[in-house]
């Protein structure tokens, strides 16, 4: 009997674990190690953050689902990896620390034949002074990164709405809280959902909304922007985004690295080197991501973390980390199989794999501060990668060590993104966008690096309905209800 350990139970890890359990059956064991008791459909946290959904709507208990799937579930966080075992045993193992109340703080070593690192990111609030400490949200801003954060955000938003109703003008600042953030899309959704709710509450005229982001142009979204083709013409997502912001009367600051947050004020540095300040009454700033801080040890107990993990804490995989300057970047730099180059039984998926470089053009301020989006590995690509990795491991377990690995390069993969801009059965809007490939391939598609026949975007009510349907579909799939395997990632 082989044992596969999946570290993390987010979108990518949950997909990998559930498909692996289905394909391997009861002859082999799948273990999920995740510190959370609940699964969270993170994209819908946006709606929790504006009070349009409850925490219960976007989460469910993992234990019964894993029991149904025959997965061994450990509510714990992974602490370290010993990919070559230790002095007592040749078998590789993971050291975990339980987070469930009855065993909190208790450590355990679990041996494995294969391991998938799908821990997701550490929400690195501590990277920006005042934004938070370590992975804990600070007191000055709100977040929608977790369901609990989103509930808190909705409460704070409601307080602001009450103040506006009593005649007090409010300033909203929403965007990214550091020069190297990703997930601009989530902040983009949030600012327009807030705007929509303010309008519904009849207080839009009492609110000043401002966007702040590390993108060098509006609509970059961490993928260098995209182009929407229509009638033989193509318009950049910059024009699309600027039109939307102007239409909704939302001002913006771009090319900004937020370097300090205080009560009611952020300090930032711009790409041109200028320093600025912005006041706010309500602010939702996405933190930068980092690896969760897993350690790795050799057989002799030596620290081999640097061998296994990139400096940002994400797991090294079969990517070209030596691509160097922007002009050398190629689609082929991006990983195909997500297998660790040192240990062939170790894989990563979702945010936990170390990307070879950014997708957007790298930029620095004259002071040397890097300001630019890091590449997104969330949503559709993370599910697809999780499934491909599970497929590879299952093949190796069932067919033998020489079974070919499955590939899911982000440079060969398209993605669909439905960004909500307001919730409502008849008043809702969402921007539905497709992009192919996610990582531009400048050799195959000279110009933008993308196939514009498969890259388009539309905004409207239908997009909102799709977004809402997707919420129910993905919750259904994640709960492993009838027909879950038929629903694509």
């Amino acid at each position: 009997m082989a044992r596969l350990i999946v570290l993390g139970g987010g979108v990518s890890g949950h997909t990998a674990a559930t498909f692996a359990a289905k394909w391997l059956g009861s002859a082999h064991e799948v273990v999920v190690v995740t510190p959370n008791a609940k699964w969270n459909w993170i994209p819908s946290n946006i709606w929790v953050g504006v009070g349009q959904m409850s925490k219960e709507d976007v989460t469910f208990d993992l234990a019964p689902v894993y029991a149904k799937a025959g997965i061994t579930y450990k509510q714990a966080k992974a602490v370290s990896l010993n990919p070559a075992g230790n002095e007592l045993s040749e078998r590789p193992f993971v050291t975990i620390e339980y987070t469930e109340q009855s065993r909190a703080g208790e450590n355990e070593n679990i041996e494995y034949d294969y391991v998938i690192n799908a821990t997701g990111p550490k929400l690195n609030f501590g990277a920006t002074p005042g934004l938070g400490e370590g992975d804990s949200l600070g007191e000055h801003t709100v977040s929608v990164c977790t369901a609990d954060h989103a509930v808190h955000a909705a409460d704070e938003l409601n307080k602001c709405i009450q103040k506006m109703k009593s005649g007090e003008r409010q300033k909203f600042l929403i965007g990214t809280g550091h020069g190297l953030c990703t997930c601009q899309g989530a902040a983009f959704e949030y600012i327009f959902n807030v705007e929509h709710e303010l309008k519904k509450a009849g207080v839009r005229d009492m609110a000043d909304l401002k966007w702040i982001s590390n993108e060098s142009f509006l609509g970059d979204f961490g993928v260098g922007g995209l182009h929407m083709k229509s009638m033989g013409f193509a318009v950049s997502s910059k024009i699309f985004a600027e039109s939307l912001f102007t239409e909704r009367n939302v001002d913006w600051i771009i090319g900004a690295h937020v370097n300090k947050v205080e009560a009611g004020k952020v300090h930032y540095e711009l790409l041109d080197g200028d320093m600025g300040e912005e006041d706010f009454d309500f602010s939702m700033l996405i933190p930068p991501f980092a690896g969760v801080g897993l350690k790795a040890y050799g057989k002799d107990g030596s620290d081999i973390t640097d061998t296994i993990f990139a400096p940002n804490g994400f797991l090294k995989v079969d990517a070209n980390y030596g691509a160097g300057a922007y002009e050398n970047w190629k689609a082929s730099d991006w990983p195909l199989t997500y297998q660790n180059p040192t240990y062939s039984n170790m894989f990563a998926c979702g945010i936990a794999f170390a990307p070879p470089h950014a997708i957007s053009k790298p930029m620095k301020s004259p002071n040397g501060t890097p300001i630019g989006p890091t590449p997104p590995r969330t949503g559709m690509p993370s599910g697809i990668i999780g499934k491909a990795v599970a497929h590879s491991i299952c093949d190796r377990i069932l067919k033998g060590e020489d079974a070919p690995l499955h590939e899911a390069s982000m440079a060969h993969m398209g993605a669909a993104c439905v960004a909500s801009a307001g919730k409502g059965l008849f008043t809702g809007t969402a921007a539905a966008m497709t992009i192919y490939p996610v990582v531009p391939d400048f050799e195959k598609y000279p110009g933008t690096g993308r196939d514009t026949d498969y890259t388009f975007g539309e905004i409207g009510l239908a997009g909102h309905w799709i977004k809402h349907i997707l919420h129910h579909l993905f919750m259904h799939k994640a709960k492993l209800n009838v027909g879950w395997t038929l629903i694509p990632e």
Partner: protein
Amino acid sequence: MIKEIITYPTPPSVEYSTDVRVFNEDLFSLIDDLKETITANSLDGLAAFQIGNHFNVVVVKKEDGSFLELINPRIIMKNGNIVGMEKTAYFPGLSAEVKRYNKISVVYQDRDSNQHSLKAEGAFSVLLQRKIDYTFGSSFLNKLSSKEKAIFEKKLEFGSDIAISETCPTTFKRDYLVKLANSLVIVIAILLFVSLFVDDKSCLSEIWKYQLYTSFGVLGVNIVYFFYAQYEGKEFTSCTSCQIGNIIGTTLISLVKLTFVMILSYFLVNPL
């Protein structure tokens, strides 16, 4: 080499704007082409897009006549608004009122790939914004207010700025006169229909009298329409439905209707 400037309706490029990644002879050659094309056409600047190249490159002429090369430009900061009439080589001979930022800060690279930034204000700021729009596949058409856009689309239709300062309304006051004339003709027709069921000559004589008076009314309304429509049309010189031919046509149609009904009435209603 002097390049042909792409003009509307040809899209500037179907290979969409992309950042320059490799700074080599091809780039330098592109910049030279832009400069020569600017000089040959006495322009204030060009985006590579406008000569059919998909790279994110802009060359503008500074006040002292020298060229400023901007590679991969981005507008980072913006302040204040300014509204002014703009022209661009993409829409030759046409102008539009465009709302722009008064002050901007732009980061860009030079031909050696070194990053720089500059601050611009007023006309120079507007010029940079217009050129950078092209590098993202846009023209000032996307910056126009809905009213100005409607006017500009008319200019595109006529291919000229001359005498085009307004949109063509879909309804006019004179339309009420046409409606009145038509209603009166309908009244005459109804009287004609009623007369078919009347045998009494004195009654028919009364009906014919009313028809006659009403027809004079229709004639009068048409005369008022003919002159008032021309007066109203002077406000909308670009509007085809305001032209004299259209007005004559509308008047004639009304009179033909009246004549037709009155001829029928003369033979069927008039007891004399």
